[in-house]
Point group: C2
Chain length 501, copies 2
């Protein structure tokens, strides 16, 4: 989920200066338009990791917009007066009216997350608190409030560096409190808790926007541009239901920001000699683990997505070579049939859930909704935006039931794809694999790239992580996939053991 915020996204000073000029004018204009025609309110939530620039961003927003019609409220521990009311009371009190923008710095998320991290609540109680938040935000949206939630993220390494740097700067050191260091030490405990909070409250109408907090120019522009885009779109027309805000797209940053895929090192290679040794070892381990999984009733789903010609078939074959044919099933997923289109989207995938001790390999999957259906326009924006949460609900059901789940995106670059297409044209028995559509898809490369980025951001979770596979070198890809499959089964077997206790 946070992978997309650990890519080192940044903006140069020059690009920043140039972008800010227009952005400020546009923000002021939009804010003024909203004030004169108060059709909706705006609630901006600023949350996330300490030291990731939340305070600085709030300050900048105040200089960019007209502070008379912008109210920021910071929330620390509840006061005595607040503690005498239900926990959401203090947020209700300061809800912005239509025509105004309210910034919530420290929000209804802080308390439930801290209580869970400190162990004052269990997973089920935490879930109840998140359900209450969902109900609250549903009311905001229904009451004509545009809800924009920004989560500022830093990797553990970067957070440490940043806290240290701030501490040393005499003018900034006040920003770093002992509590910040305490939370830094709990980083690994915060991570899964925050991830669950974001996953369960990232709804179609009030999703989270994850902000990489390393570079101040980047994060400020991202937040400013996202607010501007969401405001402008809503001011233009008021469709029902309200359009979900999305992260502002990249071109406004002067330079294009790296996506998760572009961040991969496609030079990763394995020499042929090493390859067969490594592959054999991994396959042997997979065989052993799959036998244990069969006898202990642990089921698994391995999901494969990727560019055309990225080598999904070859990878899948390296897995099945290691397995007992009675216990696995490879399911190629094509466009939905009429029968399937007559039911809710996830129906056909539910049907194919493996029984105890069995494994299903999906060659393409339910992610079609947010990949091909999004890019090709087969699904409406409302549909594919809603799909992230539907998919997360689905995968939570799988995890709760004890299924092991691994998801792979096989990544190659455009040149490699062209090379492989050409090769297929030449190889008679591979020729049937290449169609006119394959060429057309290449034009949509950038839009798929963006879709994969959102997909990873919204659906890579602790219990169902995405593995992005550098697949320019087929050997590297195959070894990596089989090894991840092994680790996935191992973890699931371990969890099953704990459950039985």
């Amino acid at each position: 989920m946070f992978e997309t915020a650990e890519l080192g996204r940044k903006v140069s000073r020059a690009d920043y200066a140039q972008a800010v000029e227009g952005l400020r004018t546009d923000l002021l204009r939009a804010q003024n338009e909203l004030r004169l025609d108060p059709r909706f309110a705006v609630a901006i939530v600023i949350a996330g990791v300490d030291g990731a620039g939340k305070g600085e961003t709030v300050n900048v927003l105040h200089t960019w917009m007209d502070p008379r019609y912008l109210a920021a409220d910071a929330f620390g521990p509840a006061t005595a007066e607040e503690a005498e009311r239900p926990s959401l009371w203090r947020f209700w009190r300061v809800l912005p009216p239509k025509g105004r923008i309210g910034i919530f710095f420290g929000s209804w998320y802080t308390d439930p997350i801290l209580r869970r991290v400190y162990g004052k609540t269990d997973e089920a109680e935490f879930g109840a608190a998140l359900a209450r938040i969902q109900a609250f935000e549903r009311q905001l949206v229904a009451g004509d409030t545009l809800v924009l939630k920004f989560w500022f993220h830093l990797s553990k390494r970067v957070q440490k560096k940043r806290l240290k740097k701030l501490s040393k700067d005499p003018e900034q050191s006040w920003r770093v409190t002992p509590l910040d260091w305490k939370h830094y030490k709990l980083y690994d405990r915060f991570l899964p808790v925050c991830e669950r909070a974001l996953r369960e409250t990232s709804t179609g109408t009030a999703p989270w926007i994850i902000v990489e907090g390393t570079d101040s120019a980047y994060r400020e522009l991202l937040v400013g541009r996202t607010i501007l885009e969401a405001l402008s779109r809503r001011l233009e027309k008021e469709p029902t239901p309200a359009p979900a805000p999305t992260r502002a797209s990249s071109p406004d940053f002067g330079s294009r920001q790296p996506t998760v895929l572009q961040h991969l090192d496609l030079e990763a290679r394995i020499r042929p000699a090493v390859y067969s040794k490594k592959l054999n070892a991994a396959q042997a381990r997979l065989n052993q683990l799959s036998r244990r999984a069969q006898s202990e009733g642990v089921s698994a789903l391995f999901v494969f997505e990727g560019w055309d010609a990225a080598g999904k078939g070859g990878v899948i074959r390296r897995i099945t070579e290691a397995l007992d044919a009675r216990f696995y099933n490879v399911l190629p997923i094509a466009a939905p049939s009429e029968e399937e289109r007559a039911r809710p989207y996830l129906w056909r995938f539910w049907l194919h859930l493996p029984r105890a001790g069995h494994l299903t390999i999906f060659d393409r999957s339910w992610y079609g909704r947010v990949l091909v259906e999004r890019v090709e326009g087969f699904a409406q924006p409302a549909e594919w935006k809603e799909a992230y949460q539907e998919i997360n609900d689905f995968e939570s059901s799988l995890a709760d039931h004890g299924y092991a789940l691994a998801k792979f995106w096989l990544h190659i670059d455009k040149d490699e794809q062209a090379r492989r297409f050409a090769e297929r044209e030449l190889t008679a028995y591979k020729k049937y694999k290449i169609t006119a559509e394959d060429y057309r898809n290449r034009d949509r490369w950038d839009r798929y790239d963006e879709a994969v980025d959102s997909m990873v951001e919204r659906t890579s979770t602790a219990h169902a992580p995405w593995t992005l596979v550098e697949a320019n070198d087929k050997r590297h890809a195959r070894v990596k996939v089989v090894e991840v499959c092994c680790r996935t089964l191992e973890t699931a077997l371990e969890r099953a053991k704990v459950r039985r206790r």
Copy 2:
């Protein structure tokens, strides 16, 4: 919540025979139309108390409709094959496609409810299961499925009678299993669990329809008519979002069915001599309890709704007479101001939540949304239908925080209201109280009556029950209200004691 299903609603054999004829034809026609133009699917959930006629109703639906396009699935305990998958799997498997009707006899509610009643899950885990159900039903609705959920209810007394009667009938005795008797003995444990399940899953787009199960003719007609109405409305036009199904209105039953209000005995009276003694005693107790509440920090909200001239003012005065003015507040609620209309509907009520140890009396309240705003058309159907859940969420927050909450509807009949209006005209100092609007409202009596019925059905809950007060006799009304206020405070004080332990 179940008050509306304990009124002895019934239909005569003659009315039944006459109504069924047209109903069958219309159902067949609607079913056929759906089949030929398969724009949506229909999922009918049949759930509720044992012995309330669920099985019989499913059978009748099969004779009324074309069984070739109607699939009913009964769900007992999970089979081995089912237990190897997540619990919702078996329901996904048999989802009806567009154009078809699926009946779920025993549904995704059974297992979570039983596990909670048997103590295998705690409240938080039960909440998580209900949240999962909500997500599932959201997907059904988003996937063009019309979801109709019927809850068959019997009072404990009637259930016992019915199970006994069935047991004695040689042709019916097979219907009664030892499990049915076991569940009957757990009736009082089932009630709050089922109530919570219904409350939290009665959403704007998939609400529960509560069916009084005593009379077979009534329940069959109600279910049949409700299906027909929901189907016809959806076939006519397909608005977004899908219209929520509501209980079929009464005129189709030959005779009008009693509402919760009509069920009240307005003859209830207290003699003047007894009155002052009883009132004094109740007020003294209220005074004592309110002092304890102050010192122990227990807060309360008393909510008053009712017909014009039903005597709200007089009742409220009898409460405040017994209280210390520093600790209570009477809030008259009028139409929302511009300031209030600029925020989500419940905003102004959140603002007025009392601090610890204080009491707020609401003279009219947040129920305006589902009463005056519904009847007068100030709120859109989508808005007031959504409001039941918003209100339940709100009141759950209050209960979780430890607030005591009592809600009163003061009921008088039309004649009594006319008498009081005339009296006001004659009494100079009361004259200002009567306006032209009061007379106009009388024309809307029936529609308010219906709105109160839905309101009680949807929002009378264990932690925030409605008290319907027979108020033709003011003395009776005042004593009853003060006594219920006492009991409400007592319960809250008791709960607070348990919490402190």
